[in-house]
């Protein structure tokens, strides 16, 4: 009983923590959902792009003593060409092949990047230096640390930018057309390859930024960090309805809040299972996710 009481007292604080965590999930989930929306591929290498973003951020901070903003920028600058390269080498030759072939190829890339980073950086977790002051702001009973504020501001800025790009620019319009049907988009004179590369680039930029933010938040990064976070974020994308951009944001935040609440309720050891249990539950109730469109079955 007492536990439940303290839980409700801490509810606003837990919500803030959950939303912060969820915002980083949302950033990564967006990459999954956009790529899936266009080429129906679970891009397993996306989690590794996020991991590499975190490492680039770490190297910049340690060796060049830059501030977090520059670190995020550098991470984006490395991740974008990397993701475009991955798409060019490992996915493009397999377009129009069976469903499983690009999936295995994606797994191969993911394993390759994990091994490569383990060789380069060592298998152990590395501390992320504190680059944002540990100031704490108090609003009522809720405490915000400066890192949390930074994460919320940066991720919402990125998400709003993404929304603007997709909604109001020519390239965004082309992206939406391509995800409707890429044969038709091709007939309308859209350069499909360019749009797909662009989609990978945007996803990678968000993941790279997410990597640095998570590194700052949890103070620890390692070459395997992309695996479980990648899977969870894919879950978030499916939860929200895969292919839908607002869905991924919603799914990410939902998952973050659920995870923090789960831990607060005493399921700490089951932390990683919460995302998957939630996913299975939601899919059983609504097979295409919260904001997903129903699948049409045609002969």
């Amino acid at each position: 009983m007492e536990q439940i009481q303290t839980f409700f007292q801490l509810l606003p604080q837990q919500l803030v923590n959950g939303i912060t965590l969820g915002a980083t999930y949302a950033l990564i989930a967006l990459g999954y959902t956009m790529v899936y929306g266009i080429i129906q591929l679970i891009n397993f290498a996306h989690g590794e792009v996020y991991m590499i973003g975190a490492f680039v951020g770490l190297l910049m901070v340690v060796y060049f003593k830059v501030n977090f903003f520059v670190a995020i920028l550098c991470a984006i600058l490395v991740c974008v060409p990397l993701a475009v390269l991955i798409e060019r080498v490992a996915y493009r030759p397999l377009r129009g092949s069976t469903r499983l072939a690009p999936l295995i190829s994606a797994l191969g890339v993911s394993l390759f990047l994990q091994t490569l980073m383990t060789l380069l950086m060592g298998p152990n977790a590395q501390g992320f230096p504190q680059i944002v002051k540990d100031t704490i702001y108090t609003v009522g009973t809720v405490k915000f640390s400066l890192v949390q504020v930074v994460i919320l501001v940066v991720s919402s800025t990125l998400m709003v930018t993404l929304h603007m790009i997709v909604k109001f620019t020519k390239v965004g319009k082309a992206m939406r057309a391509t995800s409707e049907s890429y044969e038709t988009a091709n007939l309308m004179g859209i350069n499909i390859n360019r749009i797909i590369s662009f989609t990978f680039a945007i996803g990678a930029a968000l993941a790279g930024a997410g990597g640095v933010l998570v590194g700052m938040y949890f103070n620890s990064i390692h070459p395997m960090m992309g695996v479980i976070v990648g899977l969870k974020c894919f879950c978030a994308a499916v939860l929200g309805g895969i292919g839908s951009i607002p869905g991924a944001m919603l799914g990410g935040v939902f998952l973050g809040v659920a995870e923090v609440m789960g831990v607060a309720l005493g399921f700490g050891t089951y932390r990683d299972a919460i995302a998957f249990a939630l996913l299975i539950l939601v899919l059983l109730l609504k097979p295409t996710g919260i904001l997903g469109k129903p699948i049409q079955r045609k002969v």
Partner: protein, 302 residues
């Protein structure tokens, strides 16, 4: 002869071959689900772990015979597969894949948190009952099973579902029931493989049955040639032995392995033996022989 027996008695070779056999039985289960029925399962290792832990706990706590334990392990995994199958096989393609993956992760985390499974420390002291002879016997049995299933009414229904689910439904196949049956059978094989694995390695840890193991099993089935039993055998053998042969490159082993995965898919997206029809190859060969024979006879006659 002596040297051949010596070769198989070498503990290292023996262990590697037995392990290949164990993986092969597990992979054949996945072959039935993914290769024949066309359903994505990214959580096969989860079912393997259910079988492994069930069999190992039976061996440790009850005095039941080893083969029975492995069989019960298989049944437990099959039951879990059936229970997961009924609600989730309504989903299609990647949704099903991600659900099975989630299920396997949940199983892993539950095993980490349970007391009876030894938690994260793992379960040690399992008797070593699995040997090459038993495994070979079971491998042959599984392969026969696969061929029997493939050529039965049940197998043809599964192939119909893989080719076009809607059309299969239209000709009166109850797709959900058939998919659940296929899933349960496939996970049963995973459980058998798990039980054998437990009694071979003698130590179980939930982290052995994580996502990477599931994807490894998927690799076995896809790289050899999806939907083909010889393909699955080849894929499993090559990929289990490859890391052993790649030991000389030491830490670059996984780097090469993963690069091979990508290049393999680019150059042979249907797998090594994908689309190869052995019966046709054999008949072609025979026909060509006969034609040549007939030709020489003609020439000789003149």
């Amino acid at each position: 002869m002596e040297s051949i027996i010596g070769f198989f008695n070498d503990p290292y070779i023996n262990q590697v071959l037995t392990l290949t056999g164990v993986y092969l039985i597990t992979a054949l289960g996945l072959h039935l689900i993914t290769g024949i029925t066309g359903q994505f399962s990214f959580g096969h290792a989860g079912f393997m772990s259910i079988g492994a832990y069930t069999a190992a706990l039976l061996s440790l706590h009850l005095d039941t015979p080893f083969i029975l334990n492995v069989f019960i392990g298989g049944l437990a995994a099959g039951l879990a597969g059936m229970l997961l199958g009924f609600p989730s096989l309504r989903l299609t393609g990647d949704y099903l894949g991600i659900t099975t993956l989630g299920f396997a992760e949940i199983v892993r985390i539950v095993f980490i948190n349970l007391d009876i499974t030894g938690g994260a420390r793992g379960l040690a002291g399992i008797p070593k009952n699995t040997n090459l002879t038993i495994v070979l016997l079971l491998v042959v049995l599984s392969i026969i099973c696969m061929y029997r299933i493939h050529n039965s009414r049940f197998g043809r229904a599964l192939t119909a579902i893989r080719e076009d689910e809607l059309a299969a439904e239209a000709i009166g196949i109850n797709t959900l029931i058939y998919k659940v049956k296929a899933f349960a059978t496939g996970t049963f094989f995973a459980g058998i493989g798990g039980g054998l694995y437990a009694h071979l390695i003698q130590y179980l840890n939930p982290s052995d049955f994580g996502v990477s193991r599931s994807f490894e099993l998927l690799n076995f089935v896809v790289l050899g040639g999806l939907g083909s039993v010889p393909g699955t055998i080849l894929g499993t053998t090559v990929l289990t032995l490859a890391p052993e042969f790649l030991r000389f490159v030491k830490e670059y082993r996984m780097l090469i392995y993963s690069a091979l995965m990508v290049t393999m898919m680019i150059f042979r997206p249907h797998g090594l033996l994908g689309g190869v029809n052995f019966r046709k190859l054999f008949l072609d060969l025979v026909n060509r022989r006969l034609a040549r024979l007939a030709k020489t006879k003609d020439v000789g006659g003149k």
